[in-house]
Amino acid sequence: MGIITDNLDLWGEMIVGTLLLFFAGGTLALILGTIVGAMRVSPIPIARGVGAFYVNTVRNTPLTLVFFAFAFALPPLLGLRLTGAVSITLAICALGIYTATYVAETIRSGINTVPVGQAEAARAIGLTFGQVMRFVVLPQAFRSVIPPMMSVFIALLKNTTVAAGFSIANLGSVRAYLSERGENQFVAILWVMAIFVALVLLLSWAQQTFERRWKVAR
Protein backbone atom coordinates (compact mmCIF):
# COMPACT_ATOMS: atom_id res chain seq x y z
CA MET A 1 0.00 0.00 0.00
CA GLY A 2 2.97 2.26 0.68
CA ILE A 3 3.77 2.27 -2.99
CA ILE A 4 0.46 4.10 -3.52
CA THR A 5 0.41 6.40 -0.51
CA ASP A 6 4.07 7.44 -0.80
CA ASN A 7 3.64 8.36 -4.45
CA LEU A 8 0.13 9.77 -4.52
CA ASP A 9 1.20 12.72 -6.69
CA LEU A 10 2.53 10.35 -9.32
CA TRP A 11 -0.44 7.98 -9.39
CA GLY A 12 -2.84 10.91 -9.59
CA GLU A 13 -0.99 12.41 -12.53
CA MET A 14 -0.79 9.05 -14.29
CA ILE A 15 -4.49 8.22 -13.87
CA VAL A 16 -5.42 11.66 -15.14
CA GLY A 17 -3.17 11.06 -18.16
CA THR A 18 -4.81 7.72 -18.91
CA LEU A 19 -8.34 9.09 -18.53
CA LEU A 20 -7.55 12.13 -20.68
CA LEU A 21 -6.20 9.92 -23.47
CA PHE A 22 -9.20 7.62 -23.14
CA PHE A 23 -11.91 10.27 -23.19
CA ALA A 24 -10.35 12.59 -25.74
CA GLY A 25 -9.21 9.71 -27.97
CA GLY A 26 -12.57 8.00 -27.56
CA THR A 27 -14.53 11.11 -28.49
CA LEU A 28 -12.41 11.62 -31.58
CA ALA A 29 -12.76 7.94 -32.50
CA LEU A 30 -16.52 7.99 -32.03
CA ILE A 31 -17.04 11.07 -34.20
CA LEU A 32 -14.58 10.10 -36.91
CA GLY A 33 -15.67 6.45 -36.80
CA THR A 34 -19.33 7.32 -37.21
CA ILE A 35 -18.56 9.52 -40.19
CA VAL A 36 -16.38 6.86 -41.80
CA GLY A 37 -18.93 4.14 -41.03
CA ALA A 38 -21.60 6.18 -42.76
CA MET A 39 -19.24 6.87 -45.66
CA ARG A 40 -18.77 3.17 -46.20
CA VAL A 41 -22.51 2.66 -46.83
CA SER A 42 -23.08 5.94 -48.65
CA PRO A 43 -24.34 6.05 -52.23
CA ILE A 44 -21.30 8.07 -53.36
CA PRO A 45 -18.57 5.76 -54.73
CA ILE A 46 -15.71 8.12 -53.81
CA ALA A 47 -16.86 8.30 -50.20
CA ARG A 48 -17.10 4.51 -50.07
CA GLY A 49 -13.62 4.22 -51.58
CA VAL A 50 -12.01 6.71 -49.21
CA GLY A 51 -13.70 5.07 -46.22
CA ALA A 52 -12.58 1.59 -47.24
CA PHE A 53 -9.02 2.78 -47.91
CA TYR A 54 -8.76 4.51 -44.56
CA VAL A 55 -10.12 1.56 -42.61
CA ASN A 56 -7.99 -0.97 -44.45
CA THR A 57 -4.72 0.94 -44.13
CA VAL A 58 -4.94 2.30 -40.60
CA ARG A 59 -6.57 -0.78 -39.10
CA ASN A 60 -3.81 -2.93 -40.58
CA THR A 61 -1.06 -0.82 -39.05
CA PRO A 62 0.22 -1.64 -35.55
CA LEU A 63 -0.67 1.07 -33.09
CA THR A 64 2.97 1.58 -32.15
CA LEU A 65 3.76 2.45 -35.75
CA VAL A 66 0.87 4.90 -35.85
CA PHE A 67 2.34 6.50 -32.73
CA PHE A 68 5.79 6.55 -34.31
CA ALA A 69 4.41 8.39 -37.31
CA PHE A 70 2.72 10.96 -35.13
CA ALA A 71 5.62 11.43 -32.71
CA PHE A 72 8.59 11.27 -35.08
CA ALA A 73 7.42 11.88 -38.64
CA LEU A 74 4.81 14.62 -38.24
CA PRO A 75 6.76 17.13 -36.08
CA PRO A 76 9.59 17.65 -38.59
CA LEU A 77 7.13 17.68 -41.49
CA LEU A 78 5.00 20.37 -39.88
CA GLY A 79 7.87 22.07 -38.08
CA LEU A 80 6.23 21.39 -34.74
CA ARG A 81 7.98 21.91 -31.41
CA LEU A 82 7.07 19.23 -28.92
CA THR A 83 5.55 21.22 -26.09
CA GLY A 84 3.40 19.30 -23.65
CA ALA A 85 0.21 20.38 -25.41
CA VAL A 86 1.49 19.35 -28.83
CA SER A 87 2.65 15.96 -27.55
CA ILE A 88 -0.67 15.11 -26.00
CA THR A 89 -2.60 16.34 -29.04
CA LEU A 90 -0.50 14.12 -31.27
CA ALA A 91 -1.09 11.16 -28.96
CA ILE A 92 -4.84 11.76 -28.86
CA CYS A 93 -4.91 11.99 -32.66
CA ALA A 94 -2.92 8.77 -33.00
CA LEU A 95 -5.25 6.91 -30.63
CA GLY A 96 -8.39 8.46 -32.07
CA ILE A 97 -7.51 7.87 -35.71
CA TYR A 98 -6.51 4.29 -34.99
CA THR A 99 -9.57 3.44 -32.92
CA ALA A 100 -11.92 5.19 -35.36
CA THR A 101 -11.35 2.38 -37.87
CA TYR A 102 -12.70 -0.15 -35.36
CA VAL A 103 -15.59 2.15 -34.49
CA ALA A 104 -16.38 2.55 -38.17
CA GLU A 105 -16.51 -1.19 -38.77
CA THR A 106 -18.61 -1.73 -35.67
CA ILE A 107 -21.07 0.93 -36.77
CA ARG A 108 -21.18 -0.48 -40.28
CA SER A 109 -22.14 -3.86 -38.87
CA GLY A 110 -24.81 -2.08 -36.83
CA ILE A 111 -26.13 -0.34 -39.91
CA ASN A 112 -26.43 -3.73 -41.58
CA THR A 113 -28.77 -4.88 -38.82
CA VAL A 114 -31.29 -2.18 -39.73
CA PRO A 115 -33.71 -3.71 -42.27
CA VAL A 116 -33.08 -2.17 -45.66
CA GLY A 117 -36.81 -1.52 -46.03
CA GLN A 118 -36.59 1.18 -43.39
CA ALA A 119 -33.99 3.12 -45.35
CA GLU A 120 -36.03 2.68 -48.53
CA ALA A 121 -39.17 3.88 -46.78
CA ALA A 122 -37.30 6.90 -45.44
CA ARG A 123 -35.97 7.70 -48.90
CA ALA A 124 -39.50 7.30 -50.27
CA ILE A 125 -40.85 10.03 -48.03
CA GLY A 126 -38.15 12.35 -49.35
CA LEU A 127 -35.39 12.29 -46.73
CA THR A 128 -31.86 12.84 -47.99
CA PHE A 129 -29.08 10.32 -47.29
CA GLY A 130 -27.89 12.39 -44.37
CA GLN A 131 -31.34 12.56 -42.88
CA VAL A 132 -31.95 8.84 -43.39
CA MET A 133 -28.73 8.19 -41.49
CA ARG A 134 -29.34 10.66 -38.72
CA PHE A 135 -33.00 10.00 -37.99
CA VAL A 136 -33.63 6.42 -39.02
CA VAL A 137 -30.59 4.23 -39.43
CA LEU A 138 -27.87 5.39 -37.02
CA PRO A 139 -30.05 5.61 -33.88
CA GLN A 140 -30.99 1.99 -34.36
CA ALA A 141 -27.51 0.97 -35.45
CA PHE A 142 -25.90 2.45 -32.34
CA ARG A 143 -28.25 0.59 -30.05
CA SER A 144 -27.59 -2.76 -31.59
CA VAL A 145 -23.79 -2.44 -31.39
CA ILE A 146 -23.36 -1.43 -27.77
CA PRO A 147 -21.58 -4.66 -26.70
CA PRO A 148 -19.01 -4.73 -29.53
CA MET A 149 -18.59 -0.95 -29.27
CA MET A 150 -17.75 -1.30 -25.61
CA SER A 151 -15.16 -3.90 -26.51
CA VAL A 152 -13.60 -1.37 -28.85
CA PHE A 153 -13.48 1.17 -26.03
CA ILE A 154 -12.06 -1.31 -23.56
CA ALA A 155 -9.32 -2.00 -26.10
CA LEU A 156 -8.80 1.74 -26.45
CA LEU A 157 -8.46 2.11 -22.70
CA LYS A 158 -5.71 -0.47 -22.63
CA ASN A 159 -4.09 0.89 -25.79
CA THR A 160 -3.51 4.22 -24.02
CA THR A 161 -0.49 2.61 -22.36
CA VAL A 162 1.30 2.61 -25.72
CA ALA A 163 1.48 6.39 -25.39
CA ALA A 164 3.80 5.90 -22.42
CA GLY A 165 6.64 5.35 -24.86
CA PHE A 166 5.85 8.59 -26.62
CA SER A 167 6.18 11.15 -23.89
CA ILE A 168 2.67 10.98 -22.42
CA ALA A 169 2.57 10.29 -18.70
CA ASN A 170 -0.04 7.62 -18.03
CA LEU A 171 -0.46 4.36 -16.15
CA GLY A 172 1.84 2.71 -18.67
CA SER A 173 4.77 4.86 -17.61
CA VAL A 174 4.20 4.56 -13.87
CA ARG A 175 6.59 1.62 -13.64
CA ALA A 176 9.52 3.57 -15.06
CA TYR A 177 8.93 6.42 -12.63
CA LEU A 178 8.55 4.17 -9.60
CA SER A 179 11.63 2.17 -10.50
CA GLU A 180 13.59 5.42 -10.54
CA ARG A 181 12.15 6.17 -7.11
CA GLY A 182 13.43 2.80 -5.93
CA GLU A 183 10.10 1.04 -5.59
CA ASN A 184 9.53 -2.60 -6.41
CA GLN A 185 8.36 -2.73 -10.00
CA PHE A 186 6.50 -5.98 -9.68
CA VAL A 187 4.23 -4.47 -7.04
CA ALA A 188 3.81 -1.37 -9.20
CA ILE A 189 2.67 -3.47 -12.15
CA LEU A 190 0.20 -5.40 -9.98
CA TRP A 191 -1.34 -2.11 -8.91
CA VAL A 192 -1.53 -0.88 -12.50
CA MET A 193 -3.27 -4.12 -13.36
CA ALA A 194 -5.73 -3.68 -10.51
CA ILE A 195 -6.55 -0.15 -11.63
CA PHE A 196 -7.14 -1.31 -15.19
CA VAL A 197 -9.39 -4.13 -14.02
CA ALA A 198 -11.40 -1.61 -12.00
CA LEU A 199 -11.67 0.78 -14.95
CA VAL A 200 -12.77 -2.00 -17.30
CA LEU A 201 -15.35 -3.19 -14.78
CA LEU A 202 -16.67 0.36 -14.79
CA LEU A 203 -16.95 0.27 -18.57
CA SER A 204 -18.73 -3.10 -18.43
CA TRP A 205 -21.17 -1.63 -15.97
CA ALA A 206 -21.77 1.31 -18.32
CA GLN A 207 -22.35 -1.15 -21.13
CA GLN A 208 -25.04 -2.98 -19.17
CA THR A 209 -26.72 0.27 -18.25
CA PHE A 210 -26.78 1.47 -21.85
CA GLU A 211 -28.01 -1.89 -23.06
CA ARG A 212 -30.90 -1.88 -20.61
CA ARG A 213 -31.88 1.68 -21.37
CA TRP A 214 -31.54 1.61 -25.14
CA LYS A 215 -32.76 -1.86 -25.92
CA VAL A 216 -34.30 -2.04 -29.39
CA ALA A 217 -37.73 -3.56 -29.19
CA ARG A 218 -38.10 -5.83 -32.17
Binding site: P76, L82, A164, A169, S173, Y177, E180, Q185
Partner: protein, 305 residues
Protein backbone atom coordinates in the same frame (compact mmCIF):
# COMPACT_ATOMS: atom_id res chain seq x y z
CA UNK B 1 -4.58 -20.38 -57.70
CA UNK B 2 -4.96 -16.76 -58.62
CA UNK B 3 -6.15 -16.11 -55.13
CA UNK B 4 -3.05 -17.58 -53.52
CA UNK B 5 -0.74 -15.57 -55.74
CA UNK B 6 -2.59 -12.45 -54.83
CA UNK B 7 -2.29 -13.23 -51.12
CA UNK B 8 1.39 -14.02 -51.56
CA UNK B 9 1.84 -10.71 -53.32
CA UNK B 10 0.11 -8.86 -50.51
CA UNK B 11 2.23 -10.64 -47.90
CA UNK B 12 5.40 -9.77 -49.78
CA UNK B 13 4.32 -6.15 -49.86
CA UNK B 14 3.71 -6.14 -46.12
CA UNK B 15 7.06 -7.80 -45.48
CA UNK B 16 8.84 -5.16 -47.54
CA UNK B 17 7.05 -2.39 -45.67
CA UNK B 18 7.88 -3.95 -42.34
CA UNK B 19 11.52 -4.30 -43.31
CA UNK B 20 11.67 -0.70 -44.42
CA UNK B 21 10.11 0.43 -41.17
CA UNK B 22 12.31 -1.67 -38.94
CA UNK B 23 15.41 -0.65 -40.85
CA UNK B 24 14.39 2.93 -40.41
CA UNK B 25 13.94 2.39 -36.72
CA UNK B 26 17.04 0.40 -35.91
CA UNK B 27 19.12 2.64 -38.11
CA UNK B 28 18.30 5.68 -36.03
CA UNK B 29 20.37 5.03 -32.88
CA UNK B 30 23.56 5.77 -34.66
CA UNK B 31 24.71 6.23 -38.19
CA UNK B 32 27.47 3.81 -37.30
CA UNK B 33 30.78 4.27 -39.00
CA UNK B 34 32.20 6.21 -36.10
CA UNK B 35 32.21 3.21 -33.80
CA UNK B 36 35.30 1.88 -35.49
CA UNK B 37 37.32 3.11 -32.55
CA UNK B 38 35.98 0.38 -30.34
CA UNK B 39 35.19 -2.54 -32.57
CA UNK B 40 38.47 -4.31 -32.05
CA UNK B 41 37.21 -6.71 -29.41
CA UNK B 42 40.35 -8.72 -30.10
CA UNK B 43 42.43 -5.83 -28.88
CA UNK B 44 40.77 -6.00 -25.49
CA UNK B 45 41.97 -9.47 -24.81
CA UNK B 46 45.51 -8.19 -24.69
CA UNK B 47 44.58 -6.02 -21.71
CA UNK B 48 43.86 -8.93 -19.45
CA UNK B 49 44.05 -12.66 -19.31
CA UNK B 50 41.10 -14.87 -18.64
CA UNK B 51 41.61 -16.21 -15.15
CA UNK B 52 41.66 -19.93 -14.56
CA UNK B 53 40.64 -21.96 -11.53
CA UNK B 54 38.76 -19.08 -9.96
CA UNK B 55 37.46 -19.73 -6.49
CA UNK B 56 34.90 -17.40 -5.00
CA UNK B 57 33.57 -18.71 -1.73
CA UNK B 58 30.10 -17.68 -0.68
CA UNK B 59 28.97 -16.02 -3.90
CA UNK B 60 25.66 -17.46 -5.08
CA UNK B 61 25.95 -15.49 -8.33
CA UNK B 62 29.34 -17.00 -9.12
CA UNK B 63 28.05 -20.48 -8.30
CA UNK B 64 25.19 -19.96 -10.72
CA UNK B 65 27.57 -18.75 -13.46
CA UNK B 66 29.86 -21.74 -13.01
CA UNK B 67 26.97 -24.15 -13.12
CA UNK B 68 25.62 -22.52 -16.26
CA UNK B 69 29.03 -22.37 -17.88
CA UNK B 70 28.49 -18.81 -18.97
CA UNK B 71 27.90 -15.37 -17.53
CA UNK B 72 24.82 -13.28 -18.28
CA UNK B 73 25.50 -9.55 -18.19
CA UNK B 74 22.93 -6.80 -18.36
CA UNK B 75 24.04 -3.88 -20.56
CA UNK B 76 22.70 -1.01 -22.64
CA UNK B 77 22.75 -1.00 -26.41
CA UNK B 78 22.16 2.58 -27.47
CA UNK B 79 24.91 4.56 -25.79
CA UNK B 80 27.86 5.02 -28.11
CA UNK B 81 31.18 4.95 -26.30
CA UNK B 82 29.64 3.30 -23.24
CA UNK B 83 27.32 0.46 -24.14
CA UNK B 84 26.48 0.24 -27.82
CA UNK B 85 25.30 -2.50 -30.11
CA UNK B 86 25.87 -2.11 -33.81
CA UNK B 87 22.47 -2.80 -35.33
CA UNK B 88 23.96 -4.34 -38.47
CA UNK B 89 26.73 -6.55 -37.08
CA UNK B 90 25.32 -7.11 -33.60
CA UNK B 91 28.74 -6.28 -32.21
CA UNK B 92 28.85 -4.58 -28.84
CA UNK B 93 31.36 -1.94 -27.93
CA UNK B 94 32.05 0.74 -25.37
CA UNK B 95 33.55 1.43 -21.99
CA UNK B 96 30.84 -0.37 -20.02
CA UNK B 97 31.10 -3.39 -22.29
CA UNK B 98 34.87 -3.39 -21.72
CA UNK B 99 34.37 -3.26 -17.96
CA UNK B 100 31.85 -6.10 -18.21
CA UNK B 101 34.27 -8.26 -20.20
CA UNK B 102 37.09 -7.44 -17.81
CA UNK B 103 35.03 -8.63 -14.83
CA UNK B 104 33.96 -11.75 -16.71
CA UNK B 105 37.60 -12.53 -17.53
CA UNK B 106 38.60 -12.11 -13.92
CA UNK B 107 35.96 -14.70 -13.03
CA UNK B 108 37.29 -17.14 -15.60
CA UNK B 109 34.88 -16.53 -18.49
CA UNK B 110 36.15 -15.58 -21.93
CA UNK B 111 34.17 -13.59 -24.46
CA UNK B 112 32.49 -16.65 -25.95
CA UNK B 113 30.99 -17.45 -22.58
CA UNK B 114 29.34 -14.05 -22.16
CA UNK B 115 25.68 -13.60 -22.92
CA UNK B 116 24.61 -9.97 -23.08
CA UNK B 117 21.10 -8.89 -22.29
CA UNK B 118 20.01 -5.42 -23.23
CA UNK B 119 18.05 -4.07 -20.28
CA UNK B 120 16.64 -0.54 -20.26
CA UNK B 121 17.17 1.70 -17.25
CA UNK B 122 13.76 1.18 -15.70
CA UNK B 123 14.08 -2.61 -15.57
CA UNK B 124 17.54 -2.91 -14.06
CA UNK B 125 16.71 -3.55 -10.42
CA UNK B 126 14.01 -6.04 -11.31
CA UNK B 127 16.34 -7.98 -13.61
CA UNK B 128 18.89 -8.25 -10.79
CA UNK B 129 16.30 -9.09 -8.15
CA UNK B 130 14.82 -11.79 -10.38
CA UNK B 131 18.27 -13.19 -11.11
CA UNK B 132 17.81 -12.77 -14.87
CA UNK B 133 21.34 -11.38 -15.07
CA UNK B 134 24.49 -12.01 -13.05
CA UNK B 135 25.54 -8.41 -12.97
CA UNK B 136 24.76 -5.13 -14.71
CA UNK B 137 27.20 -2.71 -16.27
CA UNK B 138 25.49 0.20 -17.98
CA UNK B 139 25.69 3.79 -16.72
CA UNK B 140 24.20 2.59 -13.46
CA UNK B 141 24.36 5.40 -10.89
CA UNK B 142 24.91 4.36 -7.30
CA UNK B 143 22.04 5.71 -5.19
CA UNK B 144 20.82 4.92 -1.70
CA UNK B 145 17.36 4.14 -3.02
CA UNK B 146 18.71 1.50 -5.35
CA UNK B 147 20.91 0.06 -2.63
CA UNK B 148 17.72 -0.97 -0.83
CA UNK B 149 17.07 -3.51 -3.56
CA UNK B 150 20.51 -4.36 -4.92
CA UNK B 151 24.22 -3.91 -4.19
CA UNK B 152 26.85 -2.04 -6.16
CA UNK B 153 30.51 -2.72 -6.79
CA UNK B 154 32.62 0.29 -7.65
CA UNK B 155 32.17 3.11 -8.56
CA UNK B 156 34.24 2.68 -11.68
CA UNK B 157 33.42 6.03 -13.27
CA UNK B 158 32.21 9.45 -12.21
CA UNK B 159 30.32 11.82 -14.46
CA UNK B 160 27.66 14.48 -14.04
CA UNK B 161 24.42 15.61 -15.59
CA UNK B 162 24.90 17.69 -18.70
CA UNK B 163 22.95 19.16 -21.60
CA UNK B 164 23.12 18.21 -25.25
CA UNK B 165 22.01 20.82 -27.77
CA UNK B 166 22.17 21.43 -31.50
CA UNK B 167 25.64 22.56 -32.61
CA UNK B 168 24.33 25.97 -33.69
CA UNK B 169 22.48 26.64 -30.44
CA UNK B 170 23.95 29.63 -28.64
CA UNK B 171 21.09 30.25 -26.17
CA UNK B 172 21.65 27.34 -23.83
CA UNK B 173 24.83 27.36 -21.78
CA UNK B 174 23.60 25.69 -18.62
CA UNK B 175 20.51 24.46 -16.83
CA UNK B 176 19.51 28.03 -15.92
CA UNK B 177 18.99 28.88 -19.59
CA UNK B 178 16.22 26.32 -20.05
CA UNK B 179 13.32 28.66 -19.42
CA UNK B 180 10.79 28.23 -22.21
CA UNK B 181 12.87 25.46 -23.80
CA UNK B 182 11.84 21.87 -24.41
CA UNK B 183 14.03 19.28 -22.70
CA UNK B 184 14.07 15.59 -23.59
CA UNK B 185 15.21 12.53 -21.66
CA UNK B 186 14.11 8.96 -21.00
CA UNK B 187 10.83 8.20 -19.25
CA UNK B 188 10.89 8.78 -15.53
CA UNK B 189 14.62 9.45 -15.40
CA UNK B 190 16.18 11.24 -12.44
CA UNK B 191 18.01 13.87 -14.55
CA UNK B 192 14.73 15.01 -16.05
CA UNK B 193 13.12 15.02 -12.63
CA UNK B 194 15.95 17.21 -11.36
CA UNK B 195 15.52 19.66 -14.24
CA UNK B 196 11.80 19.83 -13.49
CA UNK B 197 12.24 20.30 -9.75
CA UNK B 198 15.26 22.60 -9.56
CA UNK B 199 15.22 24.52 -12.82
CA UNK B 200 12.46 25.94 -14.89
CA UNK B 201 12.15 24.31 -18.30
CA UNK B 202 9.35 25.22 -20.69
CA UNK B 203 8.35 21.62 -21.28
CA UNK B 204 9.76 18.16 -20.86
CA UNK B 205 9.50 15.27 -23.30
CA UNK B 206 10.16 11.63 -22.47
CA UNK B 207 10.96 8.64 -24.65
CA UNK B 208 12.11 5.10 -24.02
CA UNK B 209 15.63 5.68 -25.28
CA UNK B 210 18.08 8.55 -25.63
CA UNK B 211 18.47 7.88 -29.33
CA UNK B 212 14.83 8.84 -29.84
CA UNK B 213 15.55 12.12 -28.07
CA UNK B 214 18.53 12.66 -30.35
CA UNK B 215 16.25 12.17 -33.35
CA UNK B 216 13.87 14.82 -32.05
CA UNK B 217 16.75 17.18 -31.26
CA UNK B 218 18.10 16.86 -34.79
CA UNK B 219 14.59 17.45 -36.15
CA UNK B 220 14.36 20.62 -34.09
CA UNK B 221 11.33 19.39 -32.17
CA UNK B 222 13.12 19.69 -28.82
CA UNK B 223 15.82 22.12 -27.68
CA UNK B 224 17.99 20.06 -25.38
CA UNK B 225 18.59 16.55 -24.07
CA UNK B 226 19.66 16.01 -20.52
CA UNK B 227 21.36 13.07 -18.89
CA UNK B 228 24.85 12.10 -17.77
CA UNK B 229 27.53 13.88 -19.74
CA UNK B 230 29.37 10.65 -20.53
CA UNK B 231 26.30 9.40 -22.38
CA UNK B 232 25.80 12.68 -24.20
CA UNK B 233 29.45 12.81 -25.27
CA UNK B 234 28.99 9.55 -27.14
CA UNK B 235 26.31 11.10 -29.31
CA UNK B 236 28.47 14.14 -29.96
CA UNK B 237 31.31 11.86 -31.07
CA UNK B 238 28.90 10.22 -33.52
CA UNK B 239 27.73 13.45 -35.05
CA UNK B 240 29.97 16.38 -34.05
CA UNK B 241 28.61 18.58 -36.85
CA UNK B 242 25.06 18.56 -35.52
CA UNK B 243 25.41 18.20 -31.75
CA UNK B 244 27.39 19.69 -28.91
CA UNK B 245 27.46 19.66 -25.13
CA UNK B 246 26.39 22.91 -23.49
CA UNK B 247 27.96 24.16 -20.29
CA UNK B 248 29.41 22.24 -17.38
CA UNK B 249 28.06 19.18 -15.56
CA UNK B 250 25.73 20.11 -12.70
CA UNK B 251 25.50 16.95 -10.64
CA UNK B 252 27.63 13.97 -9.67
CA UNK B 253 26.75 10.52 -10.92
CA UNK B 254 28.84 7.58 -9.76
CA UNK B 255 28.58 4.53 -12.00
CA UNK B 256 28.73 1.16 -10.30
CA UNK B 257 28.28 -2.47 -11.24
CA UNK B 258 24.84 -3.68 -10.21
CA UNK B 259 24.89 -6.91 -8.21
CA UNK B 260 22.32 -9.04 -6.49
CA UNK B 261 21.79 -7.91 -2.94
CA UNK B 262 23.92 -9.64 -0.36
CA UNK B 263 26.60 -11.02 -2.66
CA UNK B 264 29.48 -9.52 -0.71
CA UNK B 265 32.02 -11.99 -2.09
CA UNK B 266 31.46 -10.90 -5.68
CA UNK B 267 31.33 -7.25 -4.62
CA UNK B 268 34.71 -7.54 -2.92
CA UNK B 269 36.14 -9.40 -5.87
CA UNK B 270 35.11 -6.69 -8.34
CA UNK B 271 36.21 -3.87 -6.05
CA UNK B 272 39.64 -5.51 -5.69
CA UNK B 273 39.79 -5.92 -9.46
CA UNK B 274 39.09 -2.21 -9.97
CA UNK B 275 41.52 -1.14 -7.26
CA UNK B 276 44.38 -3.24 -8.65
CA UNK B 277 43.63 -2.63 -12.31
CA UNK B 278 44.22 1.02 -12.95
CA UNK B 279 46.22 0.31 -16.12
CA UNK B 280 43.38 -1.72 -17.60
CA UNK B 281 40.89 0.96 -16.60
CA UNK B 282 43.01 3.64 -18.24
CA UNK B 283 43.37 1.62 -21.43
CA UNK B 284 39.60 1.08 -21.64
CA UNK B 285 39.00 4.75 -20.97
CA UNK B 286 41.51 5.91 -23.59
CA UNK B 287 40.02 3.57 -26.14
CA UNK B 288 36.34 4.35 -25.60
CA UNK B 289 35.73 7.65 -23.88
CA UNK B 290 38.77 9.85 -24.50
CA UNK B 291 37.98 10.15 -28.24
CA UNK B 292 34.59 11.63 -27.30
CA UNK B 293 36.38 14.42 -25.49
CA UNK B 294 35.70 13.27 -21.95
CA UNK B 295 38.36 13.67 -19.33
CA UNK B 296 38.37 11.68 -16.14
CA UNK B 297 40.29 9.42 -13.90
CA UNK B 298 39.49 6.25 -12.10
CA UNK B 299 37.60 6.87 -8.85
CA UNK B 300 38.30 4.98 -5.68
CA UNK B 301 35.82 2.24 -4.96
CA UNK B 302 33.37 2.55 -2.09
CA UNK B 303 34.09 0.52 1.01
CA UNK B 304 32.30 -2.80 0.79
CA UNK B 305 28.92 -2.58 2.46
Amino acid sequence: MRRTTRIAGALAGIAVAALALSACNSGSPGDSGTDGATDDAGGDTALWEVATDVQLEGSPTFDAMTERGKVVIGVKNDQPGLGYEDAASGERSGFDIGIAQWIAASLGFDEDQIEYQTIPSANREQALVNGDIDYYVGTYSITDKRKEQIDFAGPYFITGQGLLVAADNEDINGPDDLEGKIVCSVTGSTPLQRIRDEYNPGDTVEYDTYSQCVEQLKAGAVDAITTDEAILAGYVAQDPDALKIAGEPFSEERYGVGLQKGDAALQEHINALFTDGNDVWQALFDENLAPAGISGEQPEVDPTS
